[in-house]
Symmetry: C2
Subunit: 407 residues, 2 copies
């Protein structure tokens, strides 16, 4: 008997018929003799609608109260799925994050999971129940309700799979796997059958919105095998694993475009030791994730420091960066949200030279100007103008022969 964790996204449980389809799939897995725990997100547009109402009532709703509001979306989903499973004669019980015991820190809106209790879930599984768990939510030691931030339901699923030592964690959504590029932009993008945690993490953080980065990190740390697949069909999706055969032969696995970044530049920063640490220390303290960082060469004792953050953090980051600017005696701050980040990812890159050059050439040939460059062992990213993003993605995808037709 296997223990299977399944996670269904919001579009998979949007309508009554969708919930029935998900329930049928869960029932099939349970009837095959598996122990099953299911993690679900809020239905369809629920979260967006709740947010819109909150903003109608307040320009800046307290994050604690937003978490109180948002978490009802998942609570609705788990109750309705448990009701449907019971109607199909599959004994099921729904549990909120608090009831499971998903303990987080107090960072409302993007809390981090600290521990996950297993007692209650184990008891229900041992009693032959399918356990339906609310994704995205947790609870602090003081019994305050928190949310795990964007894509937090993936984190919930992987955390459960890790503490319960599940045999597989299946991530269901409306896409049937990880692609060499976003198929909505690049027509002949190809589904990747197997990919490493490292590659997946780079792709996730780079805008291939299939799986949340944190969830993949967690899966890597606890060696949880992930299966990314569609809830609308039965085709095999993408397996995410530690490593696979012939890793070095495929030197670029995929290309991704992230249009959700903002470029912030601190101008005329005094070029002294410790300045970067002060700037990014203050930003980290506020739990704002910085992505790319570039510091230009010094000119007459002054330098420009440029970095990118997510659009979500813009207002916080803006206020903070302006404070920092005057603290450190910089000349001012400049913001630009008209940017996009284009990246290629592949573990094989480590042992192949010329990948960066090939990417830059493809962008140049298509008239795409590069504003910033950042590289890691398995990734190369370029910040470009937002209006050239889609063109750049197609160009890079073609240049590395990632498409189904060229392969």
């Amino acid at each position: 008997m296997s223990l299977v964790i399944q996670k269904y996204g919001g579009t998979s449980v949007a309508g009554v018929e969708d919930i029935r389809r998900v329930a049928a799939r869960v029932a099939e897995c349970a009837r095959a003799g598996n122990s099953v725990a299911v993690v679900v997100s809020a239905r369809g547009k629920t979260t967006d609608e709740l947010l819109a109402t909150a903003h109608e009532l307040s320009p800046s709703p307290p994050k604690r109260e937003l978490d109180m509001l948002m978490t009802i979306g998942e609570q609705e989903s788990i109750a309705l799925l448990a009701i449907t499973l019971n109607a199909m004669a599959v004994p099921a019980v729904s549990l909120t994050g608090a009831q499971v015991g998903i303990l987080t820190d107090q960072e409302h809106g993007k809390a981090k999971v600290q521990t996950v209790a297993t007692e209650r879930i184990r008891k229900e599984l041992d009693n032959g129940h399918v356990v339906v768990v609310a994704g995205f939510q947790g609870v602090t030691l003081e019994n305050e309700i928190t949310t795990l931030g964007r894509g937090g339901s993936d984190a919930t699923a992987v955390a459960l799979a890790a503490v319960l030592r599940a045999d597989v964690c299946e991530i269901y959504s409306d896409v049937d796997g990880v692609y060499t590029a976003d198929p909505r932009v690049v027509e002949h993008a190809r589904k990747i059958p197997v990919i490493t945690y490292d590659e997946m993490m780079e792709l996730a953080s780079l805008g291939a919105q299939v799986l949340q980065n944190r969830a993949v990190q967690f899966a890597k740390r606890y060696s949880v095998p992930l299966h990314v697949r569609s809830s609308f069909n039965n085709t095999e999706g993408t397996m995410v694993v530690e490593n696979y055969e012939n890793m070095e032969e495929i030197f670029v696995s995929g290309a991704a475009l992230d249009e959700d970044e903002v470029k912030m530049t601190l101008r005329g920063v005094p070029d002294e030791p410790g300045i970067a640490a002060r700037v990014f220390g203050a930003i980290a303290e506020k739990n704002i994730n910085v992505d790319m960082i570039v510091q230009n060469v010094s000119d007459e004792g002054k330098t420009d420091v440029t970095f990118t953050v997510s659009n979500d953090d813009l207002s916080d980051a803006k206020r903070l960066t302006e404070e920092i600017s005057s603290d450190i005696g910089a000349e001012g701050v400049h913001f630009d949200s008209g940017v996009a980040k284009i990246s290629v990812v592949g573990v094989g890159m480590r042992s192949h030279s010329g990948v960066a050059q090939k990417m830059f050439q493809a962008l140049a040939d298509n008239g795409v100007n590069i504003q910033m460059i950042s590289t890691s062992e398995i990734k190369i990213s370029c910040l470009i103008g937002e209006d050239t993003g889609k063109k750049a993605l197609k160009a890079v995808h073609d240049a590395f022969g990632l498409g189904g037709k060229q392969a």
Copy 2:
């Protein structure tokens, strides 16, 4: 400084503008220097919509899962009201039933409050916060989410007022007080300025749906002064108190119609000692409230036992009564949901004779046939055909001169 508990019903927080109006009223009370705890129900039709979706997915959803589903309605309301209050610069914090510590038994769908913790609320009030509490919901010792049953938000408000020793518990809804009869049926019904707990309890249980019976019982036991009023205007409503001046002069305070009853008859029951105890013991065990009970005189060692239950309990009561019928060797069970109960209530009744006769005469004069009669010290109820209900209410209201114009 006074401690005020305010409770707002679902229609008071239905739309965004309604929530703003309620917030303004709460803010006014807080700015006047009072400590304020607010209890809110689910918005408008939310509960009905959630129930409808649940029933689309299952013919008989498990009660535990229905509670999981229903409680999101109040959680939405408290978050939105707290967000609005904070936007008005009134520091406010929302709390679920579980966070307050409203401990109940395990009877999902109609749980009874066992204890209410005061620590968390006191802490928030001491910090100068308005506390916004989710009505209708509680939590068991095992951390299971429960609901208190119909009108449970009133029970939440009164329980809080009792444990916090509040100066007043204001119950806001879309009606501005308790009337001598339902103004939608009886045009010249009159608002009652002051009424006793006992009268209010009889009126509540008899279908004047302004306040839940249990809430009034609780208020009486802990001497919580209730003020029933409208959230749409500032007029004084009805005060519910232990007693008032000249109580005996007003011998009938109001008349009520309950169209939500079902009549059940056990036919041919063996006329032996202990039969009634067995029948109603079994029903009470299942937590089904029986209202009127009538046993006819015995005929050849057999008798008929008739009683009424709420429509909500019909399917449970039906199954159970059929079991009981075969257990005790009765001849069968007969159901009739085409009935209504007409009642008059008044503490003055104790010292006035002829009230019953006057009521029966009024019904007779209007061609209303009486099927069952039941009386208490301060109430007379008659079960009649549902189609004659509204006519009967008007007739009785007129006969006792309860209307504004006759008074």
